[in-house]
Symmetry: C2
Subunit: 345 residues, 2 copies
């Protein structure tokens, strides 16, 4: 679905972000034929480079201390590009003997990282990078605050405008700026125009989650990862159940707290992933206990201690990070494959 | 400090909970000579049993499906006791050929798991367990809501009274009830009397965290685990920094949101663990980015990109779970040992 949305824009390259999936098997689906990818940690960069994905952007501001690790990957055949919004870091990149390509991070409204498209830092960093400058990059994390498709489309257009303004300034100053990279899953889905942009990054779309479904990035039933849990306690008089999936199994992410529907720590589904009456949620999460609160009477008669349920995640990136592998299901409950993940840093 | 608090009560055994540390090296300090321990997952039970800690309580409600795994550990020499608050699960325990010892979980006010000390379920579960009944167990997680030492002492006394009421009822019905086990770090620190209780469980005290410090379980400077992070971005005009430690490195736990001081996603310290002016916190946590917000001007002159800082955790159990090992420091920054952890389930 997201691939189709990106394909609406002629010439726009999808550079999937593997920070959510962190899995070679998923990368083979999202970036077939070892196409360009985005990573968020050195551990991901190494893991995917060793598997054959050479064209990478390591899309978290680089430190001088990490340049040697990136250089080692590139010396072994990878083409990892780093990003920075800092003049001193830019000088360290330019001074590194490995000749590492770097993108300048541009702030298009989120206010997290990046330089202003119109400010003096952009020119200073470009001058410091010199021939190492490979492009500009932005992330519209604030698209997650969009509450309608129109609002997300407007954020996408503002991101494009800001990033292009930066690219235009740099080109006017004589820099080539081959890469113009932006993205987030909502922007990828809802952008009206991507003219002037060379590539789109998105990651969570591969799995989806309750928060993205609330944003309209995908339908709720398209969520591809769930946590399999067992009933460990029953309180029919309160219409609650305890699961052996708590904060460590689900994460304490509360993204949906500000969404139209608040799913607590996750939506509880039956063992085959189908909705339960009243759509119960994990209302409280302790380290290893999740307390399920029903809105309609829970079907206690078919939920003895030991019964299996599934929990759809608020935020797939954080929930998946609790696991070192995926069990791939076909037709409900049959495990047809086990896919590894690369966690840590 | 907690050991000393427990030692105030004659005959009371400390049964450390390894759910926070999940490390043999820490267990060797907390439960020397392979003393009794508490665990929260089958993975911990296996890991510690293989290392020599035989006397364990697996303190999360058991399911019938997990009994074979516990039985296998016990057949290999361990003495893992399970817990339940469910009559059907109790019948499955009693029917298991391995003869697994089980404790009945009693609700002493938290309302998470456990049966009421005075209700019919207690007697029904005891009757179902028969000779498998090894004792009663409670957890006063609501002690975390105590806002004064007097409030926590009162919760401790209520927990003791409830658990003893259950033990007394069972003994009157002819059961032996050798183990009377309760606890939490605040209760262990602040209980006035532990008469009739045989053992105390506590875990987070081994490391401490910002939330426990706010509760008065330990002084703030006693927090033993921090996350080492690097500056990856600077915004002097906003008095913010970006760190390469975000939601995955710190967890999204917001325990201190309801505490007297809200530390966001963690307290930022200098590289040697000393406070910074105005005690800045990680105010926003993205997957791999943490945004530090100063309350006093941040010392930007000594914080270039690449500078190291430490983040003290809101909730040590959740932050530690992001890592597969500890780097043990002596005298500030020298790593003198690496201690492994057992994550997962």
């Amino acid at each position: 679905m997201l691939q189709a949305a990106v394909a609406r824009h002629p010439g726009l390259q999808l550079r999937p972000h593997l920070k959510t999936a962190k899995s070679r098997e998923v990368a083979a689906l999202a970036a077939p034929d070892f196409g360009p990818i985005t990573v968020s940690t050195l551990a991901e960069a190494r893991y995917f480079a060793e598997a054959g994905w050479r064209d990478q952007i390591y899309a978290v501001g680089i430190t001088p201390q990490k340049l040697d690790a990136v250089a080692a990957l590139n010396a072994a055949g990878a083409a990892v590009k780093v990003i920075t919004d800092d003049p001193d870091a830019a000088r360290a990149i330019a001074a590194h003997p490995a000749g590492l390509p770097a993108l300048i991070e541009v702030d298009v409204g989120e206010g997290r990282g990046g330089v202003a498209p119109e400010g003096p830092a952009l020119a200073a960093i470009a001058a410091a990078l010199g021939p190492r400058l490979a492009g500009v990059i932005s992330h519209s994390g604030h698209s997650y605050e969009g509450r309608s498709i129109a609002a997300m489309a407007a954020i996408a257009e503002a991101e494009r405008a800001g990033l292009l303004a930066a690219a235009t300034r740099l080109r006017a100053a004589g820099h080539a700026v081959p890469i113009v990279s932006l993205g987030s899953s909502p922007v990828a889905m809802h952008a009206a125009s991507m003219e002037g942009v060379t590539e789109m990054r998105a990651g969570v779309y591969m799995f989806g989650d309750l928060f993205q479904a609330q944003l309209g990035t995908h339908p709720p039933e398209a969520i591809a990862v769930t946590v399999l849990a067992s009933v460990i306690g029953r309180r029919p008089e309160r219409n609650t159940l305890l699961l052996d999936a708590g904060a460590l199994a689900l994460s304490k992410d509360r993204s949906t707290a500000a969404a139209p529907r608040d799913y607590g720590f996750g939506l509880v589904l039956d063992r085959d992933g189908r909705p339960l009456p009243g759509e119960p949620v994990v209302a409280r999460a302790y380290q290893e206990h999740g307390e399920v609160q029903g809105r309609a009477p829970l079907p206690f008669e078919r939920l003895p201690v030991g019964a299996r349920l599934r929990v759809a995640p608020n935020h797939a990136c954080l929930t998946a990070a609790a696991y070192d592998r995926y069990h791939v299901l076909e037709g409900g409950a049959e495990v047809v494959a086990v896919w590894e993940r690369v966690n840590g840093w």
